[in-house]
Symmetry: C3
Subunit: 155 residues, 3 copies
Protein backbone atom coordinates (compact mmCIF):
# COMPACT_ATOMS: atom_id res chain seq x y z
CA UNK A 1 0.00 0.00 0.00
CA UNK A 2 1.55 3.19 -1.24
CA UNK A 3 1.23 6.70 0.19
CA UNK A 4 1.52 5.85 3.88
CA UNK A 5 4.59 7.98 4.45
CA UNK A 6 3.21 10.80 2.29
CA UNK A 7 0.14 10.77 4.56
CA UNK A 8 2.42 10.88 7.59
CA UNK A 9 4.22 13.92 6.13
CA UNK A 10 0.87 15.69 5.74
CA UNK A 11 -0.11 14.70 9.29
CA UNK A 12 2.98 16.36 10.76
CA UNK A 13 2.61 19.31 8.39
CA UNK A 14 5.88 18.76 6.54
CA UNK A 15 6.13 19.76 2.89
CA UNK A 16 9.19 18.42 1.13
CA UNK A 17 11.30 21.01 -0.71
CA UNK A 18 12.63 20.57 -4.22
CA UNK A 19 15.59 18.23 -3.73
CA UNK A 20 18.79 20.27 -3.89
CA UNK A 21 20.97 19.80 -6.96
CA UNK A 22 24.51 18.65 -6.21
CA UNK A 23 26.88 21.61 -5.85
CA UNK A 24 29.37 19.70 -7.99
CA UNK A 25 30.19 16.71 -10.19
CA UNK A 26 28.27 13.93 -8.46
CA UNK A 27 24.70 12.68 -8.02
CA UNK A 28 22.33 13.13 -5.07
CA UNK A 29 21.73 9.42 -4.52
CA UNK A 30 22.72 5.97 -5.79
CA UNK A 31 20.47 2.92 -5.40
CA UNK A 32 22.37 -0.35 -5.38
CA UNK A 33 21.39 -3.84 -4.23
CA UNK A 34 18.68 -2.77 -1.81
CA UNK A 35 20.53 0.22 -0.39
CA UNK A 36 20.15 3.90 -1.24
CA UNK A 37 23.30 5.94 -0.60
CA UNK A 38 22.48 9.65 -0.29
CA UNK A 39 25.10 12.37 -0.72
CA UNK A 40 25.85 14.76 2.12
CA UNK A 41 22.94 17.22 2.34
CA UNK A 42 23.19 20.85 3.41
CA UNK A 43 20.56 22.64 5.53
CA UNK A 44 18.19 25.14 3.90
CA UNK A 45 15.67 27.36 5.71
CA UNK A 46 13.20 29.08 3.38
CA UNK A 47 15.61 28.52 0.51
CA UNK A 48 18.60 30.02 2.34
CA UNK A 49 21.63 27.98 3.43
CA UNK A 50 21.96 27.78 7.21
CA UNK A 51 25.52 28.95 7.88
CA UNK A 52 27.70 29.24 10.96
CA UNK A 53 29.83 27.45 13.54
CA UNK A 54 28.80 26.08 16.95
CA UNK A 55 30.70 27.42 19.95
CA UNK A 56 31.26 30.57 17.95
CA UNK A 57 28.16 32.21 16.42
CA UNK A 58 25.52 29.46 16.64
CA UNK A 59 23.76 27.68 19.52
CA UNK A 60 22.31 24.19 19.96
CA UNK A 61 18.75 25.26 19.05
CA UNK A 62 20.00 26.58 15.70
CA UNK A 63 21.96 23.36 15.27
CA UNK A 64 18.98 21.11 15.90
CA UNK A 65 17.00 23.10 13.34
CA UNK A 66 19.86 22.86 10.85
CA UNK A 67 20.21 19.11 11.41
CA UNK A 68 16.43 18.73 10.98
CA UNK A 69 16.59 20.65 7.69
CA UNK A 70 19.42 18.39 6.45
CA UNK A 71 17.07 15.53 7.36
CA UNK A 72 14.20 17.12 5.42
CA UNK A 73 16.49 17.34 2.39
CA UNK A 74 17.55 13.71 2.83
CA UNK A 75 13.85 12.72 2.72
CA UNK A 76 13.32 14.93 -0.35
CA UNK A 77 16.20 13.07 -2.03
CA UNK A 78 14.68 9.71 -1.04
CA UNK A 79 11.37 10.79 -2.61
CA UNK A 80 13.13 11.93 -5.81
CA UNK A 81 15.23 8.75 -6.07
CA UNK A 82 12.60 6.20 -5.07
CA UNK A 83 9.39 7.77 -6.38
CA UNK A 84 7.47 6.36 -3.44
CA UNK A 85 8.64 6.93 0.16
CA UNK A 86 6.88 3.70 1.17
CA UNK A 87 9.83 1.91 -0.46
CA UNK A 88 11.93 2.95 2.56
CA UNK A 89 12.50 -0.22 4.59
CA UNK A 90 14.90 1.21 7.17
CA UNK A 91 16.97 4.29 7.80
CA UNK A 92 20.25 2.42 8.31
CA UNK A 93 22.88 5.05 9.08
CA UNK A 94 23.29 8.83 9.30
CA UNK A 95 26.73 10.46 9.11
CA UNK A 96 26.51 13.84 10.83
CA UNK A 97 29.22 16.50 10.43
CA UNK A 98 28.88 19.51 12.74
CA UNK A 99 30.77 22.77 12.03
CA UNK A 100 32.39 23.21 15.45
CA UNK A 101 34.76 25.43 17.35
CA UNK A 102 37.21 23.11 19.18
CA UNK A 103 35.49 23.93 22.50
CA UNK A 104 32.00 22.82 21.37
CA UNK A 105 31.23 19.23 22.44
CA UNK A 106 27.45 18.91 21.94
CA UNK A 107 27.54 17.35 18.47
CA UNK A 108 25.13 14.62 19.64
CA UNK A 109 22.52 17.18 20.73
CA UNK A 110 22.77 18.92 17.36
CA UNK A 111 22.50 15.66 15.42
CA UNK A 112 19.31 14.76 17.30
CA UNK A 113 17.47 17.28 15.15
CA UNK A 114 17.84 14.88 12.22
CA UNK A 115 17.50 11.65 14.19
CA UNK A 116 14.21 12.70 15.77
CA UNK A 117 12.83 13.73 12.38
CA UNK A 118 13.54 10.27 10.95
CA UNK A 119 11.69 8.59 13.81
CA UNK A 120 8.83 11.12 13.54
CA UNK A 121 8.38 10.34 9.83
CA UNK A 122 9.21 6.64 9.55
CA UNK A 123 8.46 5.38 13.08
CA UNK A 124 10.44 2.34 14.26
CA UNK A 125 12.13 1.86 10.82
CA UNK A 126 13.36 5.45 11.21
CA UNK A 127 15.62 4.46 14.11
CA UNK A 128 19.16 4.34 12.77
CA UNK A 129 22.84 3.94 13.56
CA UNK A 130 24.73 7.21 13.57
CA UNK A 131 28.08 8.88 13.88
CA UNK A 132 28.34 12.55 14.82
CA UNK A 133 31.64 14.42 14.75
CA UNK A 134 32.93 17.97 14.83
CA UNK A 135 34.57 19.47 11.76
CA UNK A 136 36.32 22.87 11.46
CA UNK A 137 34.39 23.94 8.36
CA UNK A 138 31.86 22.63 5.82
CA UNK A 139 31.13 23.38 2.14
CA UNK A 140 29.88 26.96 1.61
CA UNK A 141 30.16 27.57 5.37
CA UNK A 142 27.05 25.60 6.38
CA UNK A 143 26.49 24.62 10.00
CA UNK A 144 25.71 20.92 9.48
CA UNK A 145 26.07 18.30 6.72
CA UNK A 146 24.45 14.85 6.86
CA UNK A 147 24.70 11.83 4.56
CA UNK A 148 22.67 8.62 4.80
CA UNK A 149 22.36 4.95 3.96
CA UNK A 150 18.78 3.72 3.57
CA UNK A 151 17.51 0.18 3.00
CA UNK A 152 14.88 0.12 0.25
CA UNK A 153 12.48 -2.41 -1.29
CA UNK A 154 12.28 -3.03 -5.04
CA UNK A 155 10.61 -0.30 -7.10
CA UNK B 1 29.86 -24.07 16.19
CA UNK B 2 29.10 -21.25 18.56
CA UNK B 3 31.30 -19.74 21.27
CA UNK B 4 34.59 -19.66 19.34
CA UNK B 5 35.01 -15.91 19.58
CA UNK B 6 33.86 -15.88 23.21
CA UNK B 7 36.60 -18.43 23.92
CA UNK B 8 39.08 -16.20 22.11
CA UNK B 9 38.03 -13.24 24.29
CA UNK B 10 38.71 -15.34 27.40
CA UNK B 11 42.04 -16.45 25.99
CA UNK B 12 43.24 -12.86 25.57
CA UNK B 13 41.70 -11.88 28.92
CA UNK B 14 39.20 -9.43 27.51
CA UNK B 15 35.87 -8.96 29.31
CA UNK B 16 33.30 -7.03 27.30
CA UNK B 17 31.70 -4.06 29.09
CA UNK B 18 28.00 -3.32 29.13
CA UNK B 19 27.36 -1.85 25.67
CA UNK B 20 27.04 1.92 25.99
CA UNK B 21 23.57 3.39 25.51
CA UNK B 22 23.34 5.96 22.73
CA UNK B 23 23.86 9.50 24.08
CA UNK B 24 20.91 10.61 21.96
CA UNK B 25 17.99 9.71 19.67
CA UNK B 26 19.41 6.81 17.69
CA UNK B 27 20.25 3.11 18.12
CA UNK B 28 23.63 1.46 18.70
CA UNK B 29 23.43 -0.83 15.68
CA UNK B 30 21.26 -1.73 12.70
CA UNK B 31 21.39 -5.15 11.02
CA UNK B 32 20.30 -5.09 7.38
CA UNK B 33 20.80 -7.57 4.53
CA UNK B 34 23.88 -9.24 5.96
CA UNK B 35 25.54 -6.10 7.25
CA UNK B 36 25.63 -4.69 10.78
CA UNK B 37 26.10 -0.92 10.90
CA UNK B 38 27.39 0.20 14.31
CA UNK B 39 27.07 3.78 15.56
CA UNK B 40 30.19 5.78 16.41
CA UNK B 41 31.51 4.45 19.73
CA UNK B 42 33.30 6.50 22.38
CA UNK B 43 36.23 5.22 24.47
CA UNK B 44 35.69 4.26 28.13
CA UNK B 45 38.41 3.26 30.60
CA UNK B 46 37.05 1.79 33.84
CA UNK B 47 33.70 3.43 33.11
CA UNK B 48 35.21 6.90 32.52
CA UNK B 49 35.22 8.59 29.11
CA UNK B 50 38.72 9.03 27.70
CA UNK B 51 38.93 12.75 26.89
CA UNK B 52 41.50 15.01 25.25
CA UNK B 53 43.15 16.13 22.04
CA UNK B 54 46.29 14.80 20.35
CA UNK B 55 49.08 17.28 19.75
CA UNK B 56 47.78 19.19 22.75
CA UNK B 57 47.29 17.21 25.98
CA UNK B 58 47.40 13.58 24.76
CA UNK B 59 50.09 11.37 23.22
CA UNK B 60 50.02 8.42 20.81
CA UNK B 61 50.09 5.78 23.57
CA UNK B 62 46.93 7.29 25.09
CA UNK B 63 45.42 7.40 21.62
CA UNK B 64 46.11 3.76 20.88
CA UNK B 65 44.51 2.83 24.18
CA UNK B 66 41.50 5.06 23.42
CA UNK B 67 41.12 3.56 19.93
CA UNK B 68 41.37 0.07 21.43
CA UNK B 69 38.63 0.93 23.93
CA UNK B 70 36.40 2.20 21.11
CA UNK B 71 37.08 -1.17 19.50
CA UNK B 72 36.13 -3.02 22.68
CA UNK B 73 32.84 -1.11 22.74
CA UNK B 74 32.25 -1.93 19.06
CA UNK B 75 32.64 -5.64 19.91
CA UNK B 76 30.30 -5.22 22.91
CA UNK B 77 27.73 -3.72 20.53
CA UNK B 78 28.21 -6.64 18.09
CA UNK B 79 27.59 -9.09 20.95
CA UNK B 80 24.46 -7.19 22.05
CA UNK B 81 23.09 -6.92 18.50
CA UNK B 82 23.98 -10.40 17.23
CA UNK B 83 23.71 -12.50 20.39
CA UNK B 84 26.57 -14.68 19.21
CA UNK B 85 29.91 -13.17 18.12
CA UNK B 86 30.47 -16.21 15.89
CA UNK B 87 27.96 -14.61 13.51
CA UNK B 88 30.66 -12.08 12.58
CA UNK B 89 31.78 -12.98 9.04
CA UNK B 90 34.08 -10.04 8.42
CA UNK B 91 34.99 -6.69 9.92
CA UNK B 92 34.43 -4.71 6.71
CA UNK B 93 35.23 -1.09 7.53
CA UNK B 94 36.21 1.12 10.46
CA UNK B 95 35.70 4.89 10.35
CA UNK B 96 38.16 6.45 12.81
CA UNK B 97 37.84 10.08 13.95
CA UNK B 98 40.79 11.40 15.96
CA UNK B 99 40.47 14.59 18.09
CA UNK B 100 43.52 16.43 16.74
CA UNK B 101 45.36 19.69 16.99
CA UNK B 102 46.12 20.81 13.40
CA UNK B 103 49.82 19.93 13.90
CA UNK B 104 49.17 16.28 14.86
CA UNK B 105 49.53 13.94 11.87
CA UNK B 106 49.72 10.45 13.46
CA UNK B 107 46.04 9.53 13.10
CA UNK B 108 47.02 6.19 11.53
CA UNK B 109 49.14 5.24 14.55
CA UNK B 110 46.27 6.09 16.89
CA UNK B 111 43.73 4.14 14.82
CA UNK B 112 45.95 1.05 14.94
CA UNK B 113 44.82 0.52 18.53
CA UNK B 114 41.41 -0.52 17.20
CA UNK B 115 42.63 -2.25 14.05
CA UNK B 116 45.02 -4.50 15.95
CA UNK B 117 42.29 -5.43 18.43
CA UNK B 118 40.00 -6.59 15.60
CA UNK B 119 42.72 -8.83 14.19
CA UNK B 120 43.57 -10.11 17.69
CA UNK B 121 39.96 -11.13 18.32
CA UNK B 122 38.69 -12.22 14.90
CA UNK B 123 41.93 -13.25 13.14
CA UNK B 124 41.98 -12.93 9.34
CA UNK B 125 38.26 -11.90 9.17
CA UNK B 126 39.19 -9.07 11.53
CA UNK B 127 41.30 -7.39 8.85
CA UNK B 128 39.31 -4.45 7.53
CA UNK B 129 39.26 -1.39 5.31
CA UNK B 130 39.64 1.86 7.22
CA UNK B 131 39.65 5.61 7.02
CA UNK B 132 41.31 7.67 9.74
CA UNK B 133 41.03 11.45 9.84
CA UNK B 134 41.65 14.30 12.25
CA UNK B 135 38.73 16.28 13.67
CA UNK B 136 38.87 19.43 15.84
CA UNK B 137 36.53 18.07 18.52
CA UNK B 138 34.30 15.08 19.29
CA UNK B 139 31.09 14.56 21.32
CA UNK B 140 31.65 15.18 25.06
CA UNK B 141 35.30 15.96 24.35
CA UNK B 142 36.43 12.36 23.80
CA UNK B 143 39.80 11.63 22.17
CA UNK B 144 38.62 9.12 19.54
CA UNK B 145 35.32 7.98 17.98
CA UNK B 146 35.00 4.89 15.75
CA UNK B 147 32.07 3.51 13.75
CA UNK B 148 31.98 0.18 11.88
CA UNK B 149 30.42 -1.92 9.16
CA UNK B 150 30.46 -5.67 9.84
CA UNK B 151 29.36 -8.52 7.59
CA UNK B 152 27.25 -11.03 9.52
CA UNK B 153 25.66 -14.43 8.93
CA UNK B 154 21.98 -15.16 9.60
CA UNK B 155 20.98 -15.41 13.25
CA UNK C 1 34.08 -8.65 -22.24
CA UNK C 2 37.14 -7.84 -20.20
CA UNK C 3 39.63 -5.01 -20.73
CA UNK C 4 37.16 -2.24 -21.58
CA UNK C 5 38.16 -0.03 -18.67
CA UNK C 6 41.85 -0.79 -19.19
CA UNK C 7 41.42 0.41 -22.77
CA UNK C 8 39.71 3.54 -21.48
CA UNK C 9 42.66 4.20 -19.15
CA UNK C 10 45.03 3.96 -22.12
CA UNK C 11 42.78 6.25 -24.14
CA UNK C 12 42.96 8.99 -21.52
CA UNK C 13 46.68 8.34 -20.99
CA UNK C 14 46.38 7.26 -17.38
CA UNK C 15 48.84 4.72 -16.02
CA UNK C 16 47.85 3.28 -12.65
CA UNK C 17 50.53 3.45 -9.95
CA UNK C 18 51.46 0.58 -7.67
CA UNK C 19 48.63 0.52 -5.14
CA UNK C 20 49.84 2.10 -1.89
CA UNK C 21 50.40 -0.24 1.04
CA UNK C 22 48.35 0.63 4.12
CA UNK C 23 50.33 2.87 6.49
CA UNK C 24 49.13 0.72 9.37
CA UNK C 25 47.33 -2.42 10.59
CA UNK C 26 44.51 -2.71 8.07
CA UNK C 27 43.93 -3.75 4.45
CA UNK C 28 43.44 -1.57 1.37
CA UNK C 29 40.09 -3.03 0.38
CA UNK C 30 37.47 -5.56 1.48
CA UNK C 31 35.07 -7.21 -0.98
CA UNK C 32 31.83 -8.36 0.63
CA UNK C 33 28.45 -9.32 -0.87
CA UNK C 34 28.83 -7.35 -4.09
CA UNK C 35 30.45 -4.29 -2.55
CA UNK C 36 34.11 -3.31 -2.43
CA UNK C 37 34.98 -1.07 0.53
CA UNK C 38 38.23 0.81 -0.11
CA UNK C 39 40.30 2.36 2.70
CA UNK C 40 40.96 6.09 2.73
CA UNK C 41 43.57 6.81 0.05
CA UNK C 42 46.21 9.54 0.22
CA UNK C 43 47.34 11.61 -2.80
CA UNK C 44 50.71 10.92 -4.43
CA UNK C 45 52.32 12.95 -7.21
CA UNK C 46 55.34 11.25 -8.78
CA UNK C 47 55.67 9.09 -5.69
CA UNK C 48 55.59 12.04 -3.27
CA UNK C 49 52.72 12.66 -0.83
CA UNK C 50 50.78 15.84 -1.64
CA UNK C 51 50.80 17.76 1.65
CA UNK C 52 49.24 21.00 2.88
CA UNK C 53 46.11 22.79 4.01
CA UNK C 54 43.58 24.78 1.96
CA UNK C 55 43.03 28.37 2.98
CA UNK C 56 46.56 28.35 4.31
CA UNK C 57 49.29 27.16 1.92
CA UNK C 58 47.30 25.42 -0.85
CA UNK C 59 44.81 26.59 -3.49
CA UNK C 60 41.86 24.94 -5.23
CA UNK C 61 43.89 23.89 -8.29
CA UNK C 62 46.30 21.98 -6.04
CA UNK C 63 43.30 20.50 -4.26
CA UNK C 64 41.64 19.27 -7.43
CA UNK C 65 44.91 17.64 -8.45
CA UNK C 66 45.26 16.05 -4.99
CA UNK C 67 41.67 14.77 -5.08
CA UNK C 68 42.28 13.39 -8.58
CA UNK C 69 45.39 11.58 -7.34
CA UNK C 70 43.42 10.07 -4.44
CA UNK C 71 40.99 8.91 -7.13
CA UNK C 72 43.81 7.41 -9.20
CA UNK C 73 44.92 5.47 -6.12
CA UNK C 74 41.35 4.31 -5.47
CA UNK C 75 41.26 2.92 -9.03
CA UNK C 76 44.66 1.28 -8.50
CA UNK C 77 43.23 -0.40 -5.38
CA UNK C 78 40.15 -1.54 -7.35
CA UNK C 79 42.45 -3.09 -9.97
CA UNK C 80 44.53 -4.83 -7.29
CA UNK C 81 41.47 -6.12 -5.40
CA UNK C 82 39.31 -7.12 -8.38
CA UNK C 83 41.90 -8.18 -10.95
CA UNK C 84 39.72 -6.81 -13.73
CA UNK C 85 38.37 -3.24 -13.64
CA UNK C 86 35.44 -4.36 -15.81
CA UNK C 87 34.03 -5.93 -12.64
CA UNK C 88 33.18 -2.39 -11.45
CA UNK C 89 29.39 -2.10 -11.68
CA UNK C 90 29.01 1.30 -10.08
CA UNK C 91 31.01 3.81 -8.07
CA UNK C 92 28.50 4.08 -5.21
CA UNK C 93 29.94 6.59 -2.76
CA UNK C 94 33.05 8.70 -2.18
CA UNK C 95 33.89 10.09 1.27
CA UNK C 96 36.11 13.14 0.76
CA UNK C 97 38.07 14.70 3.64
CA UNK C 98 39.72 18.04 2.83
CA UNK C 99 42.52 19.45 5.05
CA UNK C 100 41.04 22.91 5.64
CA UNK C 101 41.66 26.13 7.48
CA UNK C 102 38.33 27.09 9.13
CA UNK C 103 37.89 29.92 6.58
CA UNK C 104 38.11 27.64 3.51
CA UNK C 105 34.65 26.62 2.25
CA UNK C 106 35.36 25.20 -1.24
CA UNK C 107 35.53 21.52 -0.25
CA UNK C 108 33.09 20.65 -3.07
CA UNK C 109 35.34 22.22 -5.70
CA UNK C 110 38.33 20.29 -4.38
CA UNK C 111 36.41 17.00 -4.28
CA UNK C 112 35.40 17.44 -7.92
CA UNK C 113 38.93 16.43 -8.89
CA UNK C 114 38.08 12.88 -7.86
CA UNK C 115 34.44 12.90 -8.96
CA UNK C 116 35.30 14.00 -12.49
CA UNK C 117 37.99 11.34 -12.75
CA UNK C 118 35.47 8.60 -11.89
CA UNK C 119 33.09 9.78 -14.59
CA UNK C 120 35.99 10.15 -17.07
CA UNK C 121 37.06 6.53 -16.48
CA UNK C 122 33.79 4.68 -15.85
CA UNK C 123 31.25 6.88 -17.66
CA UNK C 124 27.68 6.84 -16.31
CA UNK C 125 28.47 4.09 -13.72
CA UNK C 126 31.19 6.42 -12.43
CA UNK C 127 28.59 8.91 -11.18
CA UNK C 128 28.38 8.51 -7.43
CA UNK C 129 26.96 9.81 -4.17
CA UNK C 130 29.44 11.84 -2.16
CA UNK C 131 30.10 13.65 1.06
CA UNK C 132 32.84 16.29 1.27
CA UNK C 133 33.83 17.88 4.56
CA UNK C 134 36.64 19.97 5.99
CA UNK C 135 39.03 18.47 8.55
CA UNK C 136 41.78 20.26 10.51
CA UNK C 137 44.49 17.73 9.65
CA UNK C 138 44.98 14.38 7.89
CA UNK C 139 47.42 11.49 8.31
CA UNK C 140 51.02 12.49 7.50
CA UNK C 141 49.81 16.01 6.73
CA UNK C 142 48.26 15.20 3.34
CA UNK C 143 45.89 17.69 1.69
CA UNK C 144 43.04 15.27 0.85
CA UNK C 145 41.94 11.73 1.82
CA UNK C 146 39.18 9.81 0.01
CA UNK C 147 37.53 6.46 0.73
CA UNK C 148 35.02 4.65 -1.48
CA UNK C 149 32.26 2.09 -1.76
CA UNK C 150 32.05 0.36 -5.16
CA UNK C 151 29.47 -2.12 -6.41
CA UNK C 152 31.17 -5.06 -8.14
CA UNK C 153 30.16 -8.14 -10.12
CA UNK C 154 31.33 -11.65 -9.28
CA UNK C 155 34.96 -12.42 -10.09
Amino acid sequence: MSGTIDARLSEIGLTLPEPAAPVAAYVPAVEQDGFLYISGQLPFDDGQLMLGRFGEDRDIAFGQKAARMCGVMLVAQMKAALGDLDRVVRIVKLGVFVNSDPRFTEQAQVANGASELMQEIFGEPGRHARSAVGVPVLPLGVAVEIDAIVAVSDG
